[in-house]
């Protein structure tokens, strides 16, 4: 029993907590007729809270050194599920972030709770999405990777198309589904080729065999397919077409969850694939990813310039951020320290993104169209929202003293260290372009006269809580980057 607990239950406990809460929600849905919303919300919140708690106790029990890294021959701790599930410091820190993102999102999920969500599908599905994410970032096997990815993606397609009577939402769901499954197909094809080549699905075994045949054409084909698959998932150019439509059409709070948590898990996939599986081929992919990163930044920042819909602006902004993150992935090497930098960027960016969409969902709830002009005068009418949104915009633009600056700082510094100064110069040029639309947020918040707009009538304490938590973390992590396990 004890052994079972220690080697099976305990390592899986964050995942199991989410599964349990998801199943319990389904059960509650069957047992109870109507109402009991508070109880269901509580059960839903309990999932991520327990997941965070178990992650914390796991990291205390196994004080593993991140310095050992992804590449180290003996991963810090491997579970005997025939080694498909890998628990190291990277998965632990990603667990933590997934739990926090889910928790914060659930605080403002209810902004359209009553209208479409009679059966609580949203809460149930979000718990299972998080399970998929956790399995994805801790996968050590190509099939596990695929399972995690699908468990994450399928419910996401559903909740993107959640506003059933809204054409845009259905369009977004379908578009996301088509593009997403195309990416998954590429992943499967790459898996098949790798299995054909090496007769194994385990990362270490493939890794070990890969070193001997670096120029094998089929291997390069698998690498190319994998770049496509990861590119679709993280929304990197030229695989970014779905991002703006899916982000715009999805219910506002879902967009927040997609831009933060789904993005985080997708980069977890990117790190596992490039920083783990394909690491011996680093010479083949790092320059390619560098160029893709620069392309993504420019596409994102230039497209965002001409948008007027706030959801689309931040969708394109998230493409630009994906470019920065991809530059971080391109700099991955045997030195694992930059995984932490990507993680730091992901968390600070995710908090920013969640905060923005918490604010937008509040605006939407008050019947505002999500255009720039509906922000006019908000800064003085609702000071808390104004300051928070200004802070998020500055953080996204990478201006100190916000965490967004330090995230960019660490990442770009890493790229300079990896002899990518040229890419860094291009990255900051794209950042200069991007500054304009972030400043437009400030301009509308504070500098434009409000046209007969009053303060927001309908308040929501839990949404405010989410906003304040995001705003404070954007400031807090700027001053103590060590708290995120960086440095």
């Amino acid at each position: 029993m004890n052994v079972f607990f220690e080697y099976f239950f305990f390592p899986l406990s964050p995942v199991l907590a989410l599964v349990a809460s998801g199943l319990l929600l389904i059960l509650l849905e069957c047992v109870t007729e109507e109402g009991m919303k508070p109880l269901k919300s509580l059960v839903a919140l309990l999932g991520p809270i327990l997941a965070i708690y178990f992650t914390w106790s796991l990291s205390r029990e196994w004080p593993v050194a991140f310095t050992q890294g992804l590449q180290s021959a003996a991963p810090v701790w491997l579970m005997e599920f025939s080694k498909v599930y890998r628990l190291d410091e990277m998965s632990l820190s990603f667990f933590w972030a997934i739990g926090v993102f889910l928790l914060v999102t659930q605080l403002f999920f209810h902004s359209f709770y009553d209208k479409w969500n009679e059966k609580n599908e949203l809460l149930i599905l979000s718990e299972f999405i998080a399970v998929g994410m956790m399995l994805l970032v801790s996968a050590n096997d190509l099939v596990m990777l695929f399972l995690g990815l699908e468990l994450m993606s399928l419910p996401t397609y559903v909740i993107v198309g959640f506003r059933r009577e809204d054409v845009r939402s259905s369009e977004a769901g379908l578009k996301y589904f088509l593009f997403g499954s195309f990416g998954t197909v590429l992943l499967l094809l790459a898996t098949a080729i790798l299995y054909m080549q090496f007769g194994s699905l385990k990362f270490e075994q493939i890794n070990a065999l890969m070193g001997a045949q670096l120029n094998q054409p089929s291997l390069l084909l698998a690498l190319g397919l994998m770049v496509g698959a990861v590119g679709f998932k993280i929304g990197a150019a030229p695989f970014h077409m779905w991002v703006s439509d899916a982000y715009e059409g999805a219910p506002t709070s879902i967009t927040g969850f997609m831009g933060s948590a789904v993005k985080l898990a997708s980069f977890g996939l990117a790190i596992r694939v490039f920083g783990g599986l394909f690491l011996p081929l680093v010479g083949k992919w790092s320059t390619l990813l560098g160029w893709l990163a620069v392309l993504t930044m420019f596409v994102g920042n230039l497209s965002a310039l001409v948008q007027t819909n706030l959801k689309r602006v931040f969708a394109y902004s998230s493409i630009a951020h994906a470019g920065f993150l991809l530059l971080g992935v391109a700099c991955l090497s045997k030195d694992a320290a930059n995984t932490q930098l990507i993680y730091y960027y992901l968390v600070t960016y995710g908090m920013m993104f969640l905060g923005v969409f918490a604010i937008l969902s509040l605006l939407e709830k008050n019947g505002r169209v999500l255009e720039f002009k509906s922000l006019s005068g908000l800064g003085f009418k609702n000071p808390v929202l104004g300051i928070a949104l200004a802070l998020f915009a500055l953080s996204a633009a990478g201006i100190p003293p916000t965490a967004g600056f330090f995230a960019k700082y660490f990442l770009l510094f890493e790229a300079v260290k990896a002899n990518g100064t040229f890419f860094v110069v291009l990255a900051v040029v794209s950042n200069i372009i991007g500054i304009y639309y972030y400043l437009r947020v400030l301009v509308h918040l504070y500098m434009k006269e409000a046209e007969g707009v009053s303060a927001l009538a309908e308040e929501s304490p839990s949404t405010y809580l989410a906003i304040v938590v995001c705003a404070l973390s954007v400031l807090y992590f700027a001053f103590v980057p060590a708290q995120l396990g960086v440095f």
């Binding site: 003085f380 000071p383 500055l394 201006i399 100190p400 003293p401 600056f405 700082y409 770009l412 510094f413 300079v416 260290k417 100064t421 860094v424 110069v425 900051v428 950042n431 200069i432 500054i435 304009y436 400043l439 400030l442 301009v443 504070y446 500098m447 434009k448 980057p481 060590a482 440095f487």
Partner: protein, 515 residues
């Protein structure tokens, strides 16, 4: 013990007060901000007494906390002869700017919070002895200035504020890349990470050409220099300045002219030149030529203006040209003049913006054509106006003369032609200032509505008198003030030259250009 906390309190007091501002009522915030800026002034006075001018080359009153240890980034403050005059200037101009903003009615809480935040960021920029910390403060300062111009400015305010922000930001992110490069270079040469200024001074660069026929050192110098030149602003990067100045509210204009522009020259002296001295020696003639063009061009364009604020803004381009020229002369006289000119320009241009703002509050116009003959209606105002104009054009006995004279002397030693041409800038200076004085103050009263204007209020006396006393003091007895920092100036070029391949014996009256 107390002294160690002095520098920290110079930054933290306004920073914390900025947050406190939001908890107050509008009227209370106004007086609170003024009180805080007076506290800052007192702290500045304490600093003035504590600072030891005889050891001005060394960093004094250091205080540091570890921050991002693995990259060697520290939260470190210290002060030396280069930053001392500018910190004192900041603390002197803060109460002036806050007091000048008292007539504003809209959103006072945020307005005052912006001033205090700006105060903290400016002081931090001058005090930081860590390159990354410097950069953080340098960028932080953009936010309150953006809001000051954009919310409380005049009609074209949004355009001007965005232009200001994007210009400065574009320069500084390229500087950021150079900072990364420096840190990696330091790591290659010394095996550890450090962003401390003193350790970065020890860097040496290989003369290998990297790209576009430029060596590493030259590229680093250019990245730093362009960021600072935008801030100064040096011709041809000055186009944001007239817009920002004209649109900014009075207090914003005062701080922009008095302190923010000096960050550019300070940055050159603190970072660009000592870190990449060989590159500077190579580029110095080129920079000097640009600054001479700036002096003449700024003065000429100022002469052609019909708007008072725009004229003062272009006169800033001209005056800051002198500051940069003094640096390019690469001798003690030029640098002393340049440092003094920074302070002088802060006082006199700050005072000019203040006076123009007072007129604007009364009449809501900045056009010359709407005034005329004010001397008979506003005698005291006119007295101050003429006094400050004299200071700005460099009349002997007032502060402007001392700085310009030293700069010209220094540049004459370096290259007589430079001095010969740029002295024309002084002549033009008199031309545009006097023509403004003539059109605004003298002649017949052409607009009858001007007859009912009121002369200075007690609040306005309170702002103007101390400023004018300082102007007079620096004009008559600059020696005391100079003693506080000229040590560091004497040591400055020696330190820079030690790094360059140039022979130290050439220091005595050598002609740098022909080298």
């Amino acid at each position: 013990m107390m002294q160690e906390w002095l520098l920290l309190s110079l930054v933290l007091v306004p920073l914390i007060s900025a947050v406190v501002c939001f908890a107050l009522t509008d009227v209370l915030a106004k007086y609170f901000a003024f009180g805080v800026s007076l506290v800052g002034l007192v702290l500045g006075a304490v600093l003035y007494c504590t600072f030891d001018g005889s050891h001005a080359t060394q960093f004094q009153l250091p205080i540091s906390f570890s921050w991002i240890t693995s990259l060697g980034v520290q939260f470190a403050f210290a002060i030396d002869g280069l930053s001392f005059p500018l910190v004192v200037l900041t603390k002197v101009m803060m109460p002036v700017a806050v007091l000048a903003s008292f007539p504003e009615k809209r959103n006072l809480k945020l307005y005052m919070a912006c001033y205090l935040f700006l105060d903290a960021a400016m002081t931090g920029t001058f005090l930081a002895t860590d390159l990354v910390l410097f950069y953080v403060f340098w960028e932080m300062m953009l936010i309150p200035m953006l809001l000051l111009i954009g919310i409380w400015g005049s009609e074209q305010r949004i355009y001007a504020s965005l232009k200001f922000f994007i210009f400065t930001f574009a320069g500084s992110v390229l500087m950021l890349v150079a900072i990364f490069f420096l840190i990696t270079q330091y790591h290659e040469q010394f095996g550890t990470y450090s962003t401390n200024i003193a350790s970065l001074y020890q860097l040496h660069f290989t003369p290998v050409k990297l790209c576009c026929g430029l060596s590493i050192e030259q590229l680093i110098f250019l990245a730093f220099f362009i960021a600072f030149a935008i801030k100064v602003p040096l011709f041809p990067l000055h186009t944001w300045l007239p817009d920002a100045h004209v649109q900014a509210p009075t207090g914003g204009s005062i701080l922009l002219a008095a302190v923010l522009l000096k960050m550019g020259t300070y940055g050159m002296l603190r970072f660009a030149i000592p870190i990449a001295p060989n590159a500077f020696v190579g580029f110095a003639p080129c920079i000097a030529h640009l600054s001479i063009i700036g002096i003449l061009y700024g003065a000429w364009v100022a002469f052609k203006q019909k708007d008072m604020k725009k004229m003062v803004a272009y006169s800033s381009v001209s005056h800051l040209g002198f500051c940069v020229l003094g640096i390019c002369a690469m001798n003690a006289k030029g640098l002393t003049g340049s440092m003094l000119q920074m302070v002088n320009h802060g006082l006199s241009t700050g005072a000019l913006f203040l006076l123009v703002g007072m007129l604007y509050e009364r009449r809501h116009s900045k056009k010359f054509a709407d005034y005329g003959g004010l001397a008979s209606i506003l005698p005291f105002f006119s007295l101050f106006f003429v006094f400050v104009a004299c200071s700005s054009m460099g009349v002997p006995g007032l502060n402007g003369f001392v700085g310009e004279f030293l700069v010209l002397m220094g540049s004459f030693e370096a290259n007589p032609v430079w001095a010969g041409i740029s002295v024309l800038g002084v002549v033009f200076g008199a031309l545009y200032m006097l023509s403004m004085v003539k059109q605004v103050l003298f002649g017949p009263v052409t607009h009858t509505e001007n007859r009912s204007l009121k002369d200075l209020s007690p609040r306005e006396w309170l702002v103007l008198v101390p400023l004018c006393l300082l102007i007079l003091y620096l004009g008559i007895a600059p020696h005391d003030f100079l003693l506080k920092f000229n040590q560091s100036i004497d040591g400055y070029w020696a330190q820079v030259l030690k790094k360059t391949a140039l022979d130290a014996s050439l220091m005595k009256g050598g002609n740098w250009v022909s080298l």
